[in-house]
Symmetry: C2
Subunit: 378 residues, 2 copies
Amino acid sequence: MRTALTELFGIDVPLVGFSRSPAVVAEVSKAGGLGVLAATAYGPEELDVQLTWIEEQVRGRPYGVDVLVPASTVGDRRELVARLRAQIPAEHIEFVRSLLEKYGVESGDLARGHGAADDQVVGVAPEGVEALVDVAFSHDIALIANALGPAPPFLVERGKREGVVVAALVGNARHAARQLDAGVDLLVAQGTEAGGHTGTVATMVLTPEIVELAGATPVLAAGGIASGRQMAAALALGAAGVWCGSVWLNSVEDITPDYIKRKFQAAESTDTVRSRTRTGKPARQLRSAWHDEWERPDAPEPLGMPLQMMLAKDAWQRIDAAAEQGVAGAHALGSFFVGQVVGSFGELRPAAQIVADMAAECAECITGLQRVIHGGAA
Amino acid sequence: MRTALTELFGIDVPLVGFSRSPAVVAEVSKAGGLGVLAATAYGPEELDVQLTWIEEQVRGRPYGVDVLVPASTVGDRRELVARLRAQIPAEHIEFVRSLLEKYGVESGDLARGHGAADDQVVGVAPEGVEALVDVAFSHDIALIANALGPAPPFLVERGKREGVVVAALVGNARHAARQLDAGVDLLVAQGTEAGGHTGTVATMVLTPEIVELAGATPVLAAGGIASGRQMAAALALGAAGVWCGSVWLNSVEDITPDYIKRKFQAAESTDTVRSRTRTGKPARQLRSAWHDEWERPDAPEPLGMPLQMMLAKDAWQRIDAAAEQGVAGAHALGSFFVGQVVGSFGELRPAAQIVADMAAECAECITGLQRVIHGGAA
């Protein structure tokens, strides 16, 4: 297949595979797409290890990383976590503590902080994200994407200097215009049906709108794309390719806890919710008892990012641990970011198989469309 | 062009044009699509007049009607309106009265009832809808669609007996399964980006899901479709054609008040809201001061259908009248049902031109997609 995306990276399939699972990233790139690792899932040292591993797997094939660069700054890094933790209201800690208790999940010492959660919090603060960006650029990345806010000049300049494509995820035309002004090389139009942080406009409407605005800058479609038919639809909308995240959560290589993967497989497309309760910003995720509790009239308003993320991350680690031990309440609470395509999840497939299946179905679909204009019922 | 939809009706373009404007319906059918009139915008006598007029225009070309058949029954027709009006709480009437007053719109005798609003209310009550259905079947309709709830047996049986295609709009797989059980001939998968009553699942996800479920029953895609590219994307998703409503609101023939049409043209795709404040059920519409007021902490919860519709219909007639007289507050309140494609509205075009433009762009897009699989960058 050949589009502006395949030309840009010298790849075979116009598909970017975004994942926090290093093995998914490697397999997507090996299968002819472009794997992109969610760097914010890691601290700088761990990211370095994972990127080294990915490079051993892909053997020169292109891959990329994704970071979250927040708009606001938060000061000195050494004290960052402690200072942020001090800002979480006691009411919120007590709400989550009693929520966990109600569902049989260990709730002692909540929000006192620990390694993984703190790493993630630092990773979305400007000083933290710069450390991640340094690690990324020390590797042979082909793309660096920013999923939040306008790309800062340091990122765009460094990308241009080092020959790395700088991409940005956008949820509306205003954000896209800002990213184009900032000089990004590639836009990802992410529809409301996508998993994770999303806006309100659907992929069907957003993609052609951003394509028209972007002019010569290539645009990928994200949100609602987990099959070759959906990939063909995205290309019809003018996208140079697709950016897929949710589909890999149902792959063999994905590191999401098994009990969540099974909840995903049982879910329908109506079972997601766009909620601020996990990160502080609206992010689409599987609806669970967690969301029911936060929607109770007596629940506090979710905090902003990164405070809500700190609060929730502590809780989610405990919930996942308890669910793995068979605590029914924890299973009821269990959730993760996922798009509306969760309703199409069948058996787990290897990530490389997903790439091959999508490419084949897309080509078949495009061929089939010819019958609509040249005779023979579609 | 040729799909299961064009074969079913013997039409040239796989496009259904849904509108409350009789001239739009006629022009869509004359241009090779299938025009469908929103029957609930009319009382039985007025519907009879409009369908007679449409038939004079289309000269044997197929057209259809759309009704809203509610799930619950409400008793004897003669007393229906009075009985329903008595159920509207005084708090709600007072809220809307003070809202209108705040924006400079005449608010006397609110919710005392009058012709047009009462006709519409009766039109969504079972007894009322049967009268509309009788009128529709007395004309030479090719399709009758139900936009709400499972198709009642009387509708399906009558359609089969009289050779009229019975269609149903669905927003999720559960509703689609119920409609298939009821025996409908055609499903319209309506994504959340659509104007009017919608569910939460986007067209990109919903369409292939319903196509897979429907088997041999043809499926149309609705929501987010106002261009040939979007039409091609819908066909790629497996739809036999598209069902478009919002795009006609920006046509020369549409009867929506001019000030609303101008608000639409100024709007972006982020400017719609899915709200219960207009009909009692979630319906997408242009966001205005009306919605801001209903979201105030001291605003009452919207009533159900049809009570909220009765309350709101009275208010909207006054708002539109005041806006036409240049009352600034009324202009700020003004709104109508419209999908996220409102962001793409440019100059008004004749409805027939919209059909021709969409068909040409769709064919061009499908031809262009060949380059993706047969070389040449897309």
